[in-house]
Every structure is written in structure tokens, then in C-alpha cells.
């Protein structure tokens, strides 16, 4: 038995709980926060290594055999996601030292961040549908609080929309889980996958599949249910936006991929065609939304949607290469998108605004920042040899291989528009001459190194993934192989239980 798998859940929780006990001491909170996230990152790398060499890892909590207890399952896909969560936790913890003021820290920012991580890691690890719902809720409530933490007016307005729409998604999810239990009498994903095949009423199974799709789709912010994201993601401080933008929506994508490769695979004609259309519409509407924005972070927010479309595209195409492409895309996008939000935070630090119309002159004044922006921005636009290129390449190749030319055309066009948006930010914030006079009190450079260090760290990862794409892609392919052979997963979970 392998208790290591539980650590990505337990480490953030104990970190968070410990910090709840030292509420007054901001310095100690920061220390514990960074220590906890470092541990999380290291453990997740260890897990990835373990999964890659030894295959799927399973932990039956409380020694109750599957499907009766809750199984924690770590396959390569989960492990990849955990590694990303670890990296994000680490980077955000450091970034927040400067970006999150004392008042927010004193009111539990670091606890919330770690509980968010706990929920995210739990969602990646669990092999149980209801438990997945619970982790979604943990994540959700932590994100609710983080998005509202600070109480600015814009935050309040964004939060109400975020909360309302995400709660609807949660309710849909839990109803769907309940229906699954009614149909199969089971909650363990592997067990459900087995039992669902024998259900006589396939109509209700499909209906439930759509409910799952809707619930995870809302969480992932796909067309046409993405509204909450652009309404809220630009409202909290940059550190929070970054971790949301990078990780949170991807949990929805993770869940979509997990359920639609493991559980709802019997009628891909219907479900995956639906996903294909959703993917295309998501890509387009997201990128078009971004095209007209004039706020740094709002541009980025709309792009999240667009890129979620790419990730769903891989799932919809449903070939080994496509799924590997999706996994790779997630892998790349989390790092890159979070980094762009980090950069936006630094930009705000330096010029006091996120408004592209008011920004300018950053290229002349801060070349290092320009480079740090360019790396993730160009990666996002799919410019080789950065990470985004390989992700796009895999997906486009997968699309061409199965002859879905229209979707490839859409994906390519969206890629161009992404480039358009990135250059827009570049031209407005970096190239253009600044509007004078800027807001008073800026640039505000104290502690800036805390914010820049994680940006450099993530940029280095982006370059490393780009140049060392073979390694990353091999891991993604392994994940894809496992995902497309659900029997392996089922066997691993059920091993020794009967």
C-alpha cells in the first residue's frame, strides 16, 4: 500500500490547518506556505516518476477494498496534473509574498491557497465520483473566498457571478452523481464504468453523460457556458487570477477527460461529436472575445476559454495522438497562462493599471519584462519552439489524421487570432508610448523580486518544455495510452478487491 498518493491532499491540508492556528503571524504564514508548496511540488514529481516507472498507483483509504472504500488513483495523467499543481502552488506562494498584501495574508490567503490546492489535488487523485464532487466543492469554496478576499467592489461583482454559475455546475454534478448511483449502485469510477454497460436504459445514461459534460463544461468554461470566467477572473489580485487561470479551469477539463475516457465511452459518436462542436465554438468565441478587450487581464481571461477549446478538441478527436495533444496542451497552458497573469501583476506594479489604453512604454523601460512577457505570450500563440507549438502541432496533426479538416482550420485560425491578441498587448503595453501622467505611487517596486522570480521559473519551464518536448510528449503519450485503455485503470483499481 502506498500512502504517498494521499500526500498531495494531506500536505496542503495540514499546511492550511497549521496556518489557521497562526493567524496573526504573517511572516510565519508565508514561511509555512512556501514550505508546504515546496513539499507538494517535490512529492508530485516523485509520484510522476513512480507512475511512469511502475504504472498506475492505487490507495484504498481506510483499507476498505474497492469499490467500497474511496480509492485514490494516480495514473500518469493524474500525476502530470499533480506536478502542475505543485509547480503552480510553489510559484504562487512565492509570488504572493509581494503581491498579496499583509491584510489579505492575515485574513487567511495562504490557508485558502493551500486548501484550493488540496481540492485540486484531490480532484486529480480521486477514483470516486462523489469524492470528486467533494473536491470540486473544496476547490470551489476556496476559490469563492479567494476571488472575494479583499472586498473590492469589482471583486464583489465578479464573485456573485462566479459563485452563482459555479454553484449551478456543482448542483448539476452532484445530481448526476446521484443518478449514477441510482443506476449502478456504485460510486467508484472504475466500478461505475463496468456497471454502466449493463444498464438497460441507455437513454438515461446518455442524459447523465450530458449532465456531466455540462457540469464539467461550466467548470472548464466552454462555450456557451463560460460567462463566469470573463466576469470574474480579472477582479482579484494577480496571484489569485494566475492560479485560477492556470489551474482551476483545467480541473474541469481534467474531469471531462477522465469521465469521457473512462466512464462514458460507449457512444462516442454522440458524445464526442458534441464535444467536437463545443471545442470549435469554444475556441472561436473565446478568441473573439479577447480580440475586443482593452484590459490586460481580460484579454488573458478570454484566451483561457479559447484554449480550453483546444484541450476539449483533443478529447473530442479521441485518438491516441489527440488525447496526448490535449494532455500536452494542458501541461503547457497551465504554466504559460499563469505566467502571463503573473506578468500582468508585475505590469500593474510598475504602471498602476491593467488598462491597455493607459499602459505603454514598458519595452523601453523594462526590457527584461518584455522578454518575460514574450516567452509565455509567444508560447500561448503557438510560436515554435516554445511549448505551445508542440501542443498545437499534436492536436492539428491528430485532427488532420482523422480528416476533421474544418476543425483544424478553426484551430489554425484561432491560433492566428491568439497571436493577434498577444501582439495587441505587446503593442499597447510595451511598444506604445506611455500615457502621461500615470497613476501616482507607481512604479511600486518594493519586493518585486518575489514576483519576478516565479515568472522566470515558469518561463524557464516553458522553454524547457519547448526544447525538451520529446520527454514531455512521451509522458503525455503515456497518459494518453492509459486513458484510452480504461481496462488498465479498472484492473488497477479493482486489483485484490474481490
Amino acid at each position: 500500500m502506498n500512502d504517498l498518493i494521499a500526500l498531495p491532499i494531506l500536505i496542503p491540508l495540514s499546511t492550511a490547518a497549521a496556518m489557521m492556528l497562526v493567524r496573526r503571524n504573517v511572516l510565519l504564514q508565508r514561511l509555512i506556505g512556501i514550505a508546504g508548496s515546496t513539499m507538494l511540488m517535490l512529492i508530485s514529481f516523485k509520484l510522476l516518476h513512480l507512475c511512469y516507472t511502475d504504472g498506475i498507483q492505487v490507495l484504498q483509504l481506510g483499507s476498505w477494498p474497492a469499490p467500497f472504500g474511496i480509492s485514490l488513483v494516480c495514473d500518469v495523467f493524474s500525476a502530470i496534473m499533480l506536478v502542475l499543481a505543485g509547480i503552480m502552488a510553489f510559484a504562487t506562494s512565492i509570488y504572493s509574498v509581494a503581491d498579496i498584501e499583509r491584510r489579505r495574508t492575515a485574513f487567511g490567503f495562504y490557508s485558502l491557497l493551500h486548501i484550493l490546492m488540496m481540492g485540486i489535488c484531490g480532484a486529480f487523485l480521486t477514483g470516486d465520483l462523489f469524492n470528486l464532487y467533494v473536491w470540486f466543492e473544496v476547490m470551489l469554496i476556496a476559490s469563492f473566498v479567494l476571488i472575494a478576499l479583499g472586498g473590492e467592489k469589482a471583486q464583489m461583482e465578479g464573485a456573485i457571478k462566479y459563485v452563482a454559475l459555479n454553484l449551478i455546475a456543482s448542483m448539476i454534478l452532484v445530481a448526476a452523481v446521484g443518478l449514477i448511483y441510482g443506476l449502478t449502485g456504485s460510486l467508484n469510477m472504475a466500478d461505475v464504468a463496468v456497471h454502466l454497460r449493463d444498464v438497460p436504459q441507455q437513454g438515461v445514461v446518455l442524459g447523465i453523460a450530458i449532465l456531466f459534460m455540462a457540469a464539467f463544461g461550466i467548470k472548464a468554461a466552454v462555450f456557451p457556458v463560460f460567462f463566469w470566467l470573463p466576469a470574474s477572473y480579472h477582479t482579484p489580485p494577480a496571484a489569485i487570477s494566475a492560479v485560477f487561470a492556470g489551474l482551476l479551469t483545467k480541473v474541469g477539463v481534467y474531469a471531462l477527460i477522465r469521465t469521457f475516457t473512462l466512464i462514458f465511452v460507449d457512444d462516442p459518436q454522440l458524445t464526442h461529436t458534441a464535444l467536437l462542436i463545443i471545442a470549435a465554438a469554444t475556441m472561436v468565441s473565446g478568441v473573439l472575445g479577447a480580440a475586443v478587450q482593452v484590459d490586460f487581464r481580460r484579454v488573458l481571461s478570454f484566451h483561457i476559454i479559447s484554449q480550453i477549446g483546444y484541450m476539449v478538441l483533443g478529447l473530442a478527436l479521441f485518438t491516441p495522438l489527440a488525447i496526448a495533444g490535449s494532455v500536452f496542451y494542458i501541461l503547457h497552458h497551465i504554466i504559460v497562462k499563469a505566467n502571463l497573469f503573473f506578468v500582468s501583476g508585475v505590469v500593474h506594479r510598475l504602471s498602476g493599471t491593467y488598462d491597455l489604453r493607459k499602459l505603454g512604454g514598458l519595452y523601453a523601460a523594462y526590457v527584461w519584462l518584455a522578454i518575460l512577457f514574450m516567452i509565455p505570450a509567444m508560447s500561448l500563440a503557438g510560436i515554435p519552439p516554445l511549448s505551445g507549438f508542440w501542443a498545437k502541432l499534436a492536436l492539428i496533426r491528430a485532427g488532420l489524421e482523422v480528416g476533421e479538416y474544418w476543425v483544424v482550420a478553426v484551430a489554425l485560425a484561432v491560433g492566428l487570432l491568439t497571436l493577434f491578441s498577444m501582439t495587441k498587448i505587446w503593442a499597447e503595453a510595451f511598444w506604445k508610448e506611455p500615457v502621461t501622467p500615470g497613476p501616482s505611487g507607481y512604479p511600486h517596486t518594493s519586493g518585486l523580486v518575489w514576483m519576478v522570480a516565479p515568472i522566470v521559473f515558469l518561463a524557464a519551464i516553458t522553454i524547457a518544455i519547448g526544447l525538451g518536448a520529446e520527454t514531455a510528449f512521451n509522458i503525455a503519450q503515456r497518459a494518453s495510452d492509459e486513458l484510452l485503455n480504461p481496462q488498465v485503470y479498472i484492473d488497477a483499481v479493482m486489483r485484490g478487491s474481490k
Binding site: 466543492e137 464583489m156 464573485a159 449551478i168 448542483m171
Partner: protein, 115 residues
């Protein structure tokens, strides 16, 4: 009774949706609360309803006496209720703060963070 409960759950959902589509934030929260009730009852009912016998092992026995109610949906619903309570508490405080900082409870006037 399965039929009656199905209809009841349907009505709860309908009420919830109708409330959520109103312009007042308070109604939105009430709608979400209704949604929660509907969902809890759905989980409870879809796993079959059994009258009288709770899943409790009586003194001197080692298993509950059949027919006993399925304990699983009970545990699930309990979890969902408590989670829902936590979320609801947060939500209603949130609407209070929204009202304080925006000065209205008309959702149609809360639009500044969208384009």
C-alpha cells in the same frame, strides 16, 4: 411513491430555476437553496425509498434488519447538505457585501466587470 417524488423533485427544480432567473440577488440565493433541496431529494429518492427501517444495527444483531434504507445516499446527502450549508452561508454573506458595496440588489445593475 416514486412517481410522486419524481414530480415533487421536478417541481423543486422548476421553482429553483424560476427563482434564479429573477433580478433580485436574494431570490437568486433562495433559488440556489431550492436547487440544493431538489438535488438532495434527488439523490435520496433515486436510490429507492424504503420506509421505516433506518440503516442501524439493533442491539444483539450484526446487520440491519431488511428492508432497511440504503445508507449510502444518506451519507451522500448528509455530505451534500453540510457542504451546501457552508456554501450557502458564504453566499448570503456575499450578497450582503455585494449590496453594501454596489448599493443595489438588482442583478441587472451589477454589470461593471463584464465588457
Amino acid at each position: 411513491m416514486q412517481l410522486v417524488f419524481a414530480i415533487l423533485i421536478g417541481m423543486l427544480y422548476a421553482g429553483a430555476v424560476y427563482m434564479m432567473l429573477r433580478r433580485s440577488i436574494v431570490k437568486l440565493i433562495i433559488g440556489l437553496a431550492l436547487f440544493g433541496h431538489a438535488t438532495n431529494l434527488l439523490i435520496f429518492a433515486v436510490a429507492r425509498l424504503v420506509r421505516y427501517n433506518p440503516p442501524i444495527v439493533l442491539k444483539g444483531e450484526t446487520i440491519p434488519i431488511e428492508p432497511f434504507a440504503d445508507p449510502v445516499p444518506q451519507a451522500l446527502v448528509l455530505t451534500a447538505i453540510v457542504i451546501g450549508f457552508g456554501v450557502q452561508a458564504f453566499s448570503i454573506v456575499l450578497i450582503k457585501r455585494v449590496y453594501q458595496s454596489v448599493g443595489t440588489d438588482d442583478l441587472d445593475e451589477i454589470r461593471s466587470t463584464d465588457s
